[in-house]
């Protein structure tokens, strides 16, 4: 089609513009696809490993912090109950010769497994089976995992389990019947249940009992049948519900990532809009000529849309590629955060589903179409033979300005109303945030003009007529500068918002750690992380500690997991002296009264995320599954805690002992007589334990640093997203401003012909773009701060239940301003250079 050739050649003749538009879309799509892939890969890994671990299980018998007594399983098996059941022990191990790799130990009873899970070994060598059952430390791995660990059958490796070294022998390989199971078997150590108990030191206990119960009415009957064989503290839950509540844990986190990635795409959309608008404005005479030749409006609209689509398609394809590349990196970050915050998840490979790629494609093309719609319609409205001059267009733009401001303000008000409405939907929170952003974007051109007009006088004083001209040019070129400014404002504001949120969060966490960590030295058993359910300390070690001089007092603590229908929470069993209790921040209530209740009555304190998630407040009653059956505990207080977004229930050690068994100890807080001796005592304690058990000994300062390091790791992915958004913004501003300046070639040539020196030209052009940058930077400040407030007060609270102080770190604001300015000035450099290079005569002739 000759008509389309005309359009396409136009794009090709402006390669720089084209390139930037393509890059803009590519970056936007890339970021979204990458996050989507990382998320879906993590989800897939989760569901695969959940499936691998639970198989066809319909229900599970779960217990208290100590798991399920194995006696219950024996009772069920010896009873005349006719449905399938299988015991399961789960645990985690790291491999000595492969640091950083966490394997999941799955202890099973092969005799009960048939109906539950299908993994297949190489049949034919019965010795594998016999060894698995009879030789201590025998394990099986999938061929892929064994390969990764460089293990062959009969080879040994050393595992780190709860800080202890355990030697295991690979007795056989599991052969997965299909690709899916082979993925599910990844990083799974299959052992006999006896071996698992020995490796994990879980004698007499199971992690859970898997059941396959009939469905429908028979389900209730089966549950009733089962009841007499259970005991207090042991419950039956539906496996899918349990899996769901596990999957739910990461939902908020993933949603946040997706929303942030959408921000990049929105900026990318502005880029497309800008490019297409620019191309339309620039081609107005051409379009007019086409119209006189008898090209209809529809054909023009279609032409522009097809052009945009081609740009969008190129950008989207590139974006998909970029997304896949980026996803590999992001996957590591996402998985690390999931591991730090939620549960151990091994995601080794990106799962490239056609769906994820199709979604990216649709999103990229859809965004392109939406963004190009306005310029396309605008092009269609072009009168034949360009009846209207540029000033007419600008005039119309200005007439639209009040409307834009009105709609923008309306959106912002709506967003505010949406936020004030009760409810804690994260999605609503994000919708409000995007409404605020779009609203602000709409009023940006108005604000820009207003600011520019204000700048006119001072600039004239400083730079003479040239200064005034720069401002006039910008005001006159509103149709482009407005959009460019809005795009820059959004991008810069996003970096401000996310940056302020992270820094506020970090400062809050740091303060909190200062206050919360009151002991001088902390000791805990070695493990991958600070996860609940770690190995207890050897009693002998506790005895030895009594001999150490210089210790004023010791508090003992135990981190346990407590699971119920709502999910998994951490049960923190602690001795808290009143001085340390003073370090807790309570949402409300009198600290002393809370302490009295906590210490002396049947009461617990719960963390803020826990209270938020369960909709609980001080004075409410919390039922907990104890060994004496379900018991109600009063909530004495709600305390601030950034350790886990799943929530923590802290219970006094003495109270725990009444309702469960005597707790072991996995962490100690040591208060010294003289804090000056801290470092020396840390060394002493390390030596003390060396021959008993590997320990982590932290000074107060070290633990704080380690905690903050974990915090930073958690937000690494957010920071990366922020940088990506900045990158898109940068390209956007470069593109918009450069296009604008190049379009003015002729005008600038006239100025040059009129006696403007190349230096003055440089000044004019970079001055103009710099002015836009400055303007955008300034306009981004309020939006950025508003966004930070929203993230802090609404999104984080709704997503994770965290509340935090607000810190307006001036350095972040300053950085943002600088970013905008630099991007803008850079954008002016090329056109200025080009114009300074070309002879005015040529430029005059060109158009």
């Amino acid at each position: 089609m000759i008509l389309w050739r005309a359009g396409l050649r136009y794009l090709l003749r402006h390669p720089l513009q084209l390139l930037f538009a393509v890059i803009g879309v590519a970056l936007g799509v890339g970021v979204v696809v990458a996050i989507d892939l990382a998320n879906s890969s993590a989800n897939k890994a989760f569901s695969l490993s959940a499936e691998a671990v639970s198989g066809r299980t319909s229900h599970q018998v779960i217990g208290g912090p100590a798991g399920v007594p194995e006696e219950i399983y024996r009772r069920i098996r010896l009873a005349p109950i006719l449905f399938d059941s299988a015991p399961v022990i789960e645990g985690l191990a790291t491999v000595t010769h492969k640091p950083g790799l966490t394997l999941r130990i799955l202890g099973l009873d092969p005799f009960a497994e048939g109906p539950f899970r299908d993994y297949s070994p190489g049949i034919g060598r019965d010795s594998e089976f016999s060894r698995l059952l009879t030789e201590p430390g025998s394990i099986m791995l999938s061929a892929a995992t064994a390969g990764e660990l460089e293990l062959r059958p009969d080879m040994q490796m050393t595992l780190q389990i709860g800080g202890k070294q355990r030697s295991v022998t690979l007795v056989g390989l599991l052969e997965a019947p299909d690709q899916l199971s082979s993925q599910a078997l990844r990083n799974l150590i299959i052992t006999d249940i006896a071996t698992a108990q020995e490796l994990l030191e879980q004698f007499g206990r199971l992690t859970r009992i898997d059941l396959i119960l009939p469905t429908g009415a028979a389900e209730d009957r089966a549950l009733q049948q089962l009841q007499p064989y259970l005991q207090p503290g042991v419950d039956v839950v539906r496996a899918d519900q349990r899996r769901q509540s596990m999957a739910q844990m990461t939902r908020a986190f993933q949603l946040n990532l997706s929303a942030l990635s959408m921000l990049a795409l929105v900026v990318g959309m502005f880029l497309i809009y800008n490019t297409m608008t620019f191309s339309v404005v620039q081609r107005r005479p051409l379009l007019g000529a086409l119209r006189t030749l008898g090209v209809t409006r529809h054909e023009i609209v279609r032409l522009v849309l097809v052009e945009a689509l081609l740009v969008g398609a190129a950008g989207t394809l590139l974006g998909l590629l970029l997304g896949v590349l980026l996803a590999n990196g992001l996957l590591t970050l996402v998985t690390r955060t999931i591991n730090d915050l939620y549960f151990v998840l091994n995601v080794r490979s990106l799962s490239l589903t056609p769906l994820a790629l199709a979604k990216g494609l649709l999103l990229g093309l859809g965004a392109t179409l939406v963004a190009a719609l306005v310029p396309a319609l605008e092009a269609g409205r072009t009168a034949p033979r360009s009846v209207l001059s540029r000033s007419h267009i600008e005039g119309r733009g200005r007439r639209l300005l009040p409307w834009a401001v009105a709609v923008g303000s309306g959106l912002m008000v709506l967003s505010l109303i949406g936020l004030l409405l009760p409810g804690n939907s994260i999605v609503v929170g994000f919708i409000c945030m995007f409404m605020l952003i779009s609203g602000y974007a709409l009023i940006t051109p108005g604000l820009a003009i207003w600011l520019l007009k204000g700048l006119q006088a001072p600039l004239k004083t400083c730079f003479g007529l040239l200064g005034k001209m720069a401002v006039r040019n910008l005001v006159a070129g509103l149709s482009r500068t407005g959009v460019a400014t809005a795009a820059l404002v959004i991008a810069v504001a996003a970096t401000i918002g996310v940056g302020l949120m992270i820094s506020s969060f970090r400062v809050t966490v740091d303060n909190w750690l200062h206050s919360y960590l009151s002991a001088d030295i902390y000791i805990t058993t070695q493990g991958d992380d600070f996860d609940a359910g770690r190995v207890p300390l050897e009693p002998e070690l506790l005895a030895r500690l009594d001999q150490v001089a210089g210790i004023d007092s010791i508090t003992r603590a135990r981190h346990l997991r407590l699971e119920d229908a709502h999910g998994i929470s951490e049960l923190f069993v602690a001795e808290i002296p009143e001085e340390s209790f003073a370090g807790y921040w309570f949402v409300d209530g009198d600290r002393q009264q809370i302490y009295r209740e906590f210490k002396n009555s049947r009461a617990v304190i719960v963390s803020e995320p826990f209270a938020y998630r369960r909709d609980l407040k001080r004075g409410d009653v919390l039922p907990l599954r104890t060994q004496l059956g379900e018991q109600e505990f009063r909530i004495a207080g709600v305390f601030t805690d950034y350790g886990s977004d799943q929530g923590r229930i802290t219970i006094a050690r003495s109270l725990y002992q009444q309702y469960w068994s005597a707790p072991q100890t996995d962490a100690l807080g040591i208060y010294l007589q003289d804090t000056a001796e801290t470092e020396q005592l840390v060394r002493q304690l390390r030596n003390l334990a060396a021959d008993i058990q590997p320990l982590m000994v932290y000074s107060n300062r070290d633990l704080r640093a380690a905690s903050l390091a974990t915090f930073d790791r958690t937000f690494a992915v957010t920071s990366v997203l922020r940088i990506l958004a900045v990158l898109v913004a940068f390209v956007g501003i470069l593109n918009a401003l450069m296009a604008m300046q190049i379009e003015r070639s002729r005008e600038l040539a006239v100025l040059r012909a009129g006696g403007l020196t190349p230096q003055q030209l440089w000044l004019l052009v970079t001055g103009e773009t710099g002015l836009i940058g400055l303007l955008a930077g300034l306009l981004a400040l309020p939006l950025g701060i508003a966004q930070a407030l929203m993230l802090i007060l609404v999104i984080n609270r709704r997503s994770f239940g965290w509340s935090m102080g607000i810190q307006l770190d001036p350095s972040i604001l300053f950085q943002a301003l600088l970013l905008a300015l630099i991007a803008a000035v850079l954008a002016g450099l090329y056109p200025a250079w080009r114009m300074a290079q070309t002879q005015p005569a040529q430029a005059l002739r060109d158009e």
Binding site: L3, R13, L286, T292, L293, T296, A383, P384
Partner: protein, 233 residues
């Protein structure tokens, strides 16, 4: 009257300029017979181009009717007028308005493509016409490589390629030196005659006006027929 190709009745047009309304013309009446070569004279801003726009249907009058080849433009929709235009009207501008991103040949092919001429036929016609305007060797050049006169020759060819019934020309020689202008004009009139086209040309040049069958002049929003043929001879 069915024997005139162009007929305007009581045509009025005004523009809004801020608060004020400026009348371009009032109750114009005119008719042009098929095959006639009519020149439109008038001072800058007298409304010549506006009249051309109204005749081509790219602008709409405030009042009155425009009939081209029996079609009443004022009753047609924007789309219908566009479709009519692409088939029956050719346009030549002072500033050529060639599509810069299409080659010379492609510029000629575009109007044919719009009316759905098959590709091979279109190419044949375009080549033949380029031959006639003496630019066969520049078929694959882009317009910006051509001189002004060459560009205007291409524009003439483009306006005629689809054999429109009405040719509208807006100062086609205004941007050219006298000699080149003459060349283009010769080409233009020659071809118009050859194809028996009705032509309405806006010009400031009395030289050109002399070639016309009739001269119309717009003055103070009124149309006058210049019957003084002596002026032209």
């Amino acid at each position: 009257m069915s024997d005139s190709l162009v007929r305007i009745d009581n045509l009025s047009k005004s523009f809004r300029e801020g608060e004020a309304v400026r009348y371009i013309f009032h109750d114009l009446n005119a008719a042009i017979a098929p095959g006639e070569f009519v020149v439109l004279l008038g001072r800058s801003g007298s409304g010549k181009s506006t009249l051309l726009n109204l005749l081509s249907g790219i602008d709409q009058p405030d009042r009155g009717t425009v009939m081209i080849a029996g079609q009443n433009f004022t009753t047609l929709s924007e789309r219908q007028r566009t479709l009519f235009r692409r088939r029956h009207i050719g346009f030549i501008f002072q500033f050529y308005n060639l599509i810069p991103t299409l080659t010379v040949l492609e510029n000629l092919l575009l109007p044919l493509e719009l009316i759905g001429t098959s590709d091979s036929v279109a190419r044949q016609q375009a080549q033949a016409l380029l031959d006639e305007v003496g630019l066969a060797d520049r078929a694959d050049s882009y317009p910006d490589r051509l001189s002004g006169g060459e560009q205007q020759r291409v524009a003439v060819a483009r306006a005629l390629i689809h054999r429109p019934r009405l040719l509208l020309a807006d100062e086609p020689t205004g941007n050219l030196d006298a000699e080149t202008g003459q060349q283009v004009l010769n080409l233009f009139t020659g071809l118009a005659q050859q194809y028996n086209m009705t032509t309405l040309m806006v010009t400031h040049s009395l030289e050109v006006a002399r070639l016309a069958d009739r001269i119309l002049t717009i003055r103070d929003g009124q149309l006058f027929e210049d019957t003084d043929m002596e002026n032209r001879r």
